[in-house]
Amino acid sequence: MKKQLREESIAMNGDEAIALAAKQCDVDVVAAYPITPQTIIVEKFSEYVANGEVQTEFVCTESEHSAMTACLAAAVTGARTFTASASAGLALMHEMLFVTSGFRAPVVMAVANRALSAPLNIHGDQSDSMAERDSGWIQIYVENAQEAYDSIIQAFKIAEDIGVSLPVIVGLDGFTISHTLENVNIQEDKEVMQFVGQRQLPNVLTHEGKTVPFKLDPDNPMTMGPNALQNYYFEFKRQQEEGMKNALKKIQEVNAEYAELTGRSYGDGLVDNYKVDDAEIAIVVVGSTAGTLKVIVDQLRQEGIKAGVLRLRTFRPFPVEQLRSALKNVKTVAVMDKAMSFGAFGGAVFNEVRNALYDAKEHPTIVNYIFGLGGRDTNPRELRKIYDDLLQINKTGTVENQVRYLGLRE
């Protein structure tokens, strides 16, 4: 029994877990540029390459813009492609993120979420990938290193699904997950390969009148990345939206299939519902903070307080129905945002959650907490205070200061 445990469980940080998952998915091409807190991922992966443990073509580029360009180019040849970035690196990719999703290239990218300059800060918040929320990438945010490992494997299956054919960002909180050692249960290489399978390609009609796999191939020439002006651009953007809609279903399917293989699942794949069903007060959150909140919910439950936490695992596509259904009986909800949306009415997650609930038959009172910017620690006491605030709102039925800052010196 002990021996078996040792085989299956390895102490790794989130970055190492991700590198291992990418290795087990047998990626053909990795093009990347190092940036904290992602660096360990590509460092570890380049070790695999140097040791001959993988057959991957590892491309060291001169910038993140080039890294994403190389990934896109590799992906359209039919290659399984992976990269990782964060913060300023992701921001430098901005242009190519739109090109990659527009090309329907199923690149998988780990983003070790980090603050953006200025002032310079290398620590964890979600400003980087939240700023890319309209770039056409699927976004999955994980709670711990185990989920980071599992989600990379799932991400390839989601991205490469023919109905989806969209790139995926797997977001992990910088340092909190990327650099923290955890016991991670891992699958065997062949199990992972069997689960992910070979990459399938959607068919396209070429200028030669042939229906062929969408792939840069001298035997079946096609024009990729042409002009599409006033008469066609709009149609292609609508197609991308359909890919997002299909992803909603695919993410749930893959989550269930993965549970069969490993016994591990994350809610329905879209939202991770922890004791929300009979809760009177609940917190909606993205990322690792959910782990701490679950402990607090357990404490509150022991005190007889009906509290819950709803972790938004998939942010793009946004799971409107699942969110509505999970929160339908909750009286008061706090939404936590680990990023600013300057000048907006609250953070991005707050905006989307509130928007989703607007048309619901009964919707809760809702309040926003901006927290943890630049890696500011958010301790259990502060998180407990949110639930206390929610109880207070429940009593009075009124919300003053709908957008609040948690852990900020006033």
Binding site: L205, F214, G225
Partner: protein, 103 residues
């Protein structure tokens, strides 16, 4: 990507990612030009330098005639052929200057 004569396709019908399902051969670019190339047959040595340099592939070698010809429906009038011609046999002209002698 489509000519105005055809019915434009819906988003459900077009191939993904903007892959062209129609050849660009019917998309003539010849009317883009202001100047057009005129060849002096006495100076031309048929060295084919212009054929190699034309970025549009609009200067063709016709082996049966042992001569070249300009495909004016694709020539954009960039003048690279005139610039590269070692014997200065090609000059760029406005249409009204020498309409009849165009090759």
């Amino acid at each position: 990507m489509s000519s105005s004569k055809e019915k434009e396709k819906s988003w459900r019908e077009v191939s993904i990612a903007g892959v062209c399902s129609k050849s660009s051969i019917g998309f003539l670019t010849g009317d883009w030009k202001t100047y057009y190339p005129v060849r002096d047959l006495e100076k031309c040595t048929k060295c084919l330098t212009c054929v190699m340099f034309c970025p549009e592939g609009a200067i063709k070698w016709a082996p049966e005639k042992g001569d070249i010809w300009f495909d004016m429906s694709f020539c954009k009038g960039c003048g690279i052929c005139a610039n590269e011609c070692p014997t200065k046999a090609i000059i760029m002209k406005l249409p009204q200057q020498d309409e009849e002698k165009s090759i």
